[in-house]
């Protein structure tokens, strides 16, 4: 089992969700985050003063998947999130030790769903 964390542009979230659904991945957790990477910064203009902020709004998607779903999940996220510009984001793949469904008590492969 793997736990996949992706940080993507906020306005790409709908495309990413669509691509994941295409690959039969329905379960995910999404959070609003601030982050910085290589992107120098989108400027926001407040009353005519340009502010270049190091921390940019991004969205974090977290998905727990069984081994056979890892590659297609990564491909789906890439397809949905990519714009070809610096700031597209990153995907991290972690080993998942255990997964439990709270309602039924199922563990492992069945719990991931």
């Amino acid at each position: 089992m793997k736990y996949i964390i992706a940080v993507v542009r906020p306005h790409k979230i709908e495309d990413v969700k669509k691509e994941l659904l295409n690959e039969d991945v329905h379960l995910m957790t999404i959070t609003d985050v601030l982050g910085c990477g290589r992107q120098q910064g989108v400027t926001e203009v407040y009353r005519g003063v340009k502010e270049v902020d190091n921390l940019l709004r991004k969205v974090k998607i977290e998905v727990a998947v069984n081994e056979e779903y890892v590659d297609r999940t990564i491909a789906a996220i890439k397809k949905g999130a990519r714009e070809g510009e610096i700031g597209d984001g990153k995907i991290f793949v972690l080993d998942l030790e255990q997964c439990i469904r709270i309602r039924t008590g199922e563990t492992g492969k069945e719990a991931i769903g």
Binding site: H11, K12, E14, D32, T43, E44, V45, Y46, L55, R57
Partner: protein, 410 residues
Amino acid sequence: MEKIVSADVAWVLIATALVMMMTPALAFFYGGLVRKKNVLSIMMQCFVTICVVGLLWVLYGYSMAFGPDKGGVIGGLEWSFLRHVGITPNSFYGPTIPHMLFMAFQMMFAIITPALMIGAFAERIKFSGFLFFVIMWATFIYNPVAHWVWGNGGWLAKDGALDFAGGTVIHINAGISALVLAILLGKREGGVFPKAPHNLPFAVFGAGFLWFGWFGFNAGSALAANGTAVIAFTTTAVATAAAGTMWMILDWTFNKAPTMLGVATGIVAGLVAITPAAGFVSPMSSIAIGAGASIVGFIFVTKVKPLFGYDDSLDVFGVHGMCGVWGAIATGIFASKGINPAGSGLIDGNAIQVWIQIKAVLTTVVFASIGTAVLYYISNLIFGMRVTKREENIGLDLSQHHEAGYTLME
């Protein structure tokens, strides 16, 4: 020679300020109903309308709408730059108040009418196209219709159409134009409607202050501090109360729970419907008018819109357009000589008034829809009316205005 009456001047001055306040209130009503990323775009469109249309009004708009009549169709430009619009009253336009006050009062109506349409194309309109379109619409749609219904010599007025404070000129005009724009612009991205409001308290705040300002809108249209103003004030209070209550009942019955948004929408529906009728009907009749408005509005918002699938984002057509139509026809039904000698409807036995009202409604609908479509195509050709998919996903605030409404994480 007309004499200025101080009490009338004082009241109409206050009413003018109340109506002006309605456009910022609208900014909150609509602003709260859109998603977070588009809140500033709504407010920007509202406030820019106040500034630009207000300016154009004194340059030529007032003259086009209320100036010396040309063939019953439009006013001439003799009053442009407010020439001949001074302190001396105009005997037709508020015989006891300065002419300039009448002009200022009407300015606030000319401003809020195009602002109403903002709800229909919310969250996807391009600002440059919007600005050009609003200028054109105010000039070529609002001014003529205002002249027909309220101008000295306007052909719908001569016909006997009753519109106390602007059911036709404002709500039906804007409502049908909004529908045309919603259809021509196309639906918002994402395919899931409605989109959740980001700040319902804002929307409620806006609705509340729209009601407050509407007392100026309706009672101020009496252009005097007199009995008619009092009647218009009362019917505005009663019809709206009935409408809010009725929408709560409908929500509770058909949607399992009474909602704040429902009551707020019902309130606006009632206010729209009583607008043409305010100074012509009895307070008891206004209960029927208000309750009827919520029924009409509820049907159009919950049944007709999903059925036809047009994305009138904030129900401008359903609430302003259709409740305006109901209000105009209800005026023909409930207007009574006993309330106001200037208006007599079905309730008095004067059935023909209903037909006169319908005629005015149909004329406005045809003119406004064709005119809006033409202006849309011109604006779209020159500026483009819709943002790109990427801009729409990012949100209009950042893409059109490089601004964010909220700094939620620092």
